[in-house]
Symmetry: C2
Subunit: 357 residues, 2 copies
């Protein structure tokens, strides 16, 4: 039997709850497809700060690197909000992304027919939205140097960061995005600010150059301010979007809210080789942690992405997706996606239900 090792990073807030559910779902779905999954739980984020004094212990990164895929819950919480930069939970997240070299972050934003009413957009605008945002994840202003604090020639304190991309960084994320678009609707929209920023001018030039390798994909370009508008005006115009780290951070969150069900949305971060990192796009929601209220579906769907993109066990991924659809079709909901006529399930019940996949 095929056997894979999975690193679990439950993290903070609702992270442990939703990862526990997704772990069992993974086990069952795997075993039904003859795949054995071994799990190892490691510390990250605030949990690691409390236990080990750093947001990403060396053993965690080593274990993650040595495994076949990583499932992350969520990190962060009020408790650590005022920590210095190197002691922030978020720094652990940035370091594991960089440490694993997972430069391509895939963030689907799909409006499920069962949940179209959850969107704040009018039904006719939200219905059928199915966008994949491909966000560059290990470059740009998140990691660019020089960065820090200084003093300008007037003696005033300054804070600064560097937005920088190399042709090679752009080429590799563009190729991933074209591949993704090819398997979806065949349309790729590259988002930049090439009317102002040199980093974006190079972005546009390289994406345009790579397009010649994918004659079957239709490429368009859009400025980021316009993209932020068009996502509200007519999100259905988008199929696949590719953009840099910071614009991807903003636009993928905007796109996810357009679906109205942020507790439903998974993500996959993959590199050229080595294990991928899979996580729900929602945060650690400290205000509802431990109350059995969190929606586990984003993490369960991240587990499906782990099986599909991380391990290549597509049959087990399909099994999970079908179970989620069935659960929703049967009217089961968590509080965040409740609407009249549906049944609110607490997480542990939901878990039992999905366990019977």
């Amino acid at each position: 039997a095929r056997s894979y090792s999975i690193t679990l990073l439950p993290g903070d807030g609702i992270g442990p709850e939703v990862v526990a559910v997704a772990k069992d779902v993974l086990s069952v779905a795997g075993s039904k497809e003859g795949v054995e999954l071994r799990f190892r739980e490691m510390l990250m984020g605030g949990a690691a700060l409390d236990a080990a004094g750093v947001p990403l212990p060396d053993e965690t990164l080593a274990a993650a690197r040595a495994s076949d895929a990583i499932l992350l819950g969520a990190i962060g919480g009020y408790k650590w909000d005022n920590n210095e930069k190197h002691l922030k939970p978020e720094t652990g997240l940035l370091n594991i992304r960089a440490g694993l070299g997972v430069f391509a972050n895939l963030r689907p934003a799909t409006v499920l027919p069962q949940l179209v009413d959850a969107s704040t957009l009018k039904k006719e605008v939200a219905e059928g939205v199915d966008i994949m945002v491909v966000r560059e994840l290990t470059g740009g202003i998140y990691f660019g140097k020089p960065r820090g604090f200084g003093t300008n020639d007037k003696g005033e304190e300054t804070g600064f960061n560097t937005e920088i991309y190399s042709a090679a960084e752009i080429d590799r994320i563009a190729r991933v995005a074209f591949e993704v678009a090819r398997k979806r609707g065949g349309k790729l929209c590259s988002v930049d600010k090439a009317n102002v920023l040199e980093a974006s001018m190079l972005w546009r030039k390289r994406v345009t150059a790579i397009a010649s390798e994918f004659p079957d994909v239709e490429l368009s370009h859009m400025y980021v301010d316009n993209a932020a508008m068009q996502l509200v005006r007519n999100p259905k115009q988008f199929d696949t979007i590719v953009t840099n780290n910071i614009f991807g951070d903003i636009l993928s969150d905007e796109a996810s809210m357009i679906t109205g069900s942020i507790g439903m949305l998974p993500s996959a971060s993959v590199g050229e080789s080595g294990p991928g990192l899979f996580e729900p796009i929602h945060g650690s929601a400290p205000d509802i942690a431990g109350q059995d209220k969190a929606n586990p579906l984003a993490t369960i769907l991240s587990a499906a992405m782990l099986l599909k993109y991380g391990l290549g066990v597509e049959s087990a991924a399909k099994r999970i997706e079908a179970a989620v659809t069935e659960t929703l079709d049967n009217g089961f909901r968590t509080g965040d996606i409740y609407s009249p006529g549906t049944i609110v399930l607490y997480l542990h019940i939901n878990y039992e239900y999905l366990d019977s996949l």
Copy 2:
């Protein structure tokens, strides 16, 4: 009688059409309040490129500086899209902002009761939205140095920009934003990415420090990705938003689309002293230029902002705002905000109507 000089920068696309209407509206509204307005039209954007080879001729900047306020239409068009950076219409816009030192860009996003159906958001979500985005306009990544193209240590081409703010730059925009919030709902939300960027950490620190000067304003902080979501989820939670140049570019466009009537939204850019720059937030819309279809109201409302914030003639500004409300109440619309039961007016008729203010 009081007398002021106004520089008109019609620019490109629909710019000349909408500026012509707003000019006459300004004249009439001014004269009814005993204020004489003298106009001088100057070249900017693509029009200046075609006539003078640069997007912002020296005489234009000099005339603008010497006047009491500037009204800009819109700039840009397909024709100049592939120009080199220093020959782009957009560069003219950035240069006039910097040249005038107008560091505070005020962008209201208001859902008018008559136009609530124009929003793609559900009525109960859009109704009553009234946000003012205060965007820093002459700093950050738009102007930061170093910027350009280079080669990294692997010999690959790079493109780079610098996001940089000094304490003084943040303090002055924060003070403008607190003043604005004080005159509105008394709530200011500062948007940054202080969990990742040093420039944002300084931003948050300084905005928090300036807050002590405004004990009557309630300050909150939000990460930019969350703000992009919250604008879709529940825009009514916002009163005044203050943010940096690039985040303000993205979020103000998103907010404007939430109102559904981007052809309606004005903006004001002001500095510490000297004339302010007033312009609609929409673009030059080359596809409908010269067809008598453009909505002149964003420029007319920018003219009202010019009277209020630029010249301090609030009575004339109120007159224009009342005329716009009356026009809408009477069911007159341009095509972009048409809904069944309203009457589509072409620009020249609209103009005659508003002329009777």
